[in-house]
Symmetry: C2
Subunit: 320 residues, 2 copies
Amino acid sequence: MAVYTEVSDEELIDFIAEYDIGELRSCKGIAEGIENSNYLMHTDRGAFILTLYEKRVDPDDLPFFLGFMEHLASRGIQAPVPVKGRDGVALRSLCGRPAAVLRFLDGMCHRQVKPDHCSEVGKALAQMHLAGLDFPLSRANNLSVTAWRGLLSDSVARADEVKQGLGKELETELTLLETEWPDGLPSGIIHGDFFPDNVFFQGEELSGLIDFYFACNDCFAYEIAICLDAWCFEPDGSFNATKARRLLTAYRGVRDFSPLELEALPLLARGSSMRFLLTRLYDWLNTPTNALVTPKDPLEFLNRLRFHQSVKGPGEYGLD
Amino acid sequence: MAVYTEVSDEELIDFIAEYDIGELRSCKGIAEGIENSNYLMHTDRGAFILTLYEKRVDPDDLPFFLGFMEHLASRGIQAPVPVKGRDGVALRSLCGRPAAVLRFLDGMCHRQVKPDHCSEVGKALAQMHLAGLDFPLSRANNLSVTAWRGLLSDSVARADEVKQGLGKELETELTLLETEWPDGLPSGIIHGDFFPDNVFFQGEELSGLIDFYFACNDCFAYEIAICLDAWCFEPDGSFNATKARRLLTAYRGVRDFSPLELEALPLLARGSSMRFLLTRLYDWLNTPTNALVTPKDPLEFLNRLRFHQSVKGPGEYGLD
């Protein structure tokens, strides 16, 4: 939660005049996302999000992110629509930062996930995967298996500060993941951060997907595995097979898994836990104590990793 | 800018069910105010601000603050209206904090103040002063002249860290203010923090007053003096007599000054500069380096103080 770049109301009024979105009535910096500065604006034509992209986002990736959101929205996926300026350009500049205006999406995030939410998530995920198939741009996943060795090197010397023996355990696991990571699974564009913070609901119905700034090309089953980590563990660390069954069954109702995807699921889930463990571990060890953002506990994902290591086959995720 | 208390969407949905304000559609923590946690909520009936009062606000003062806002709004002043729960009570509790829901006010803050804004400010200030005359509650000004000696004692030993000689200069000035501070001027409830951050405009028209959490009983001319400090100095520190004339003339069009008020204005303006200098100095010296809030420069008000010391009479504020 943070606003990194302060925009004065005068600068904003000039900037909004570049768009055909009506007259600005109010604008508030909001505590959303940890990567960028976000403002919630009201005009006489509705609500919009203004995002200023801060240094963790590569400006060269922005046409991909904004284009993907627009592509999804045009295919009926509830993604934020980037609004174009009067000159037809969505990616603009404000206060020396790349900036974009997105249509505001109503919705609330559920931290107490229920099985019904998991059905909605599975369905929306599959719809998003299919809708992205004909998007013309691509972006490599710079946080996939090939990146984990480098991430681990950055943290391994201090990993045992977090938990005794953690460095060794991750080294062993990573070597296995690198060796066994599957090739040739059905692929396309994944969201990359499909966690409850980024999925809106109205009542029990999914109403929006946000924060596409990790979107990239990768295999779909890897994102399904991420969703098991993100949606199917209880606060006490236990795995909820009912939620997993609902998520996977709903996904399957839109796009069925291939036998190879099913078989790979436990290993991909170990990969998902590794990926989030490694980035959280890095942030945990490297966030200054005076930072605006409190780093999240990496060990939540060690718990998930160990669960997936114990899984004998995809049936344990609630599949028939 | 900060959200100190994180409210989960589930807690919020339960809380909002205590009100008759429709169904919650979204809620975002906003970076507004430095004292409290604020959320901007959308329901199917409009926009609202949810405020959780943090430790710098005395809960015993909240009936005064909320009551004053409601009183002003009922008299046509553009103050936020506190919304009552279904049981008729506006001051409630959420996450262990006192909490209230206020109707959202449209508007933008102007940091580049123009003379036209000063006319609007003078008029609204006088209207607010008059509208508060029959408000039945009262609250002492705990940041008035009688409090400054204590505030200075807290900072004087380290004042010279900010500027060589500052401690001595403030001691001398404070002794004079304590001796000459006027009695018996027309009094009532003042806003207490009538700065550009707390005044909204739509175009050139004033559209809202917010942040009444310094409101208290004091003499009206003191608040007029505060507005000279708040609205009539340029970023380079120079005093803009045109803005002051517009502000004072507009005020006078609604409520004329007594001769005693006019005569006291330069001294009250020195008091205003002292008051904001002292609280800023305290925050400057006592804000931890890892705080979410960056303290404001106290020396801006030393510059204002010295200007008011040089003023020979109220005519220098642009009055005839």
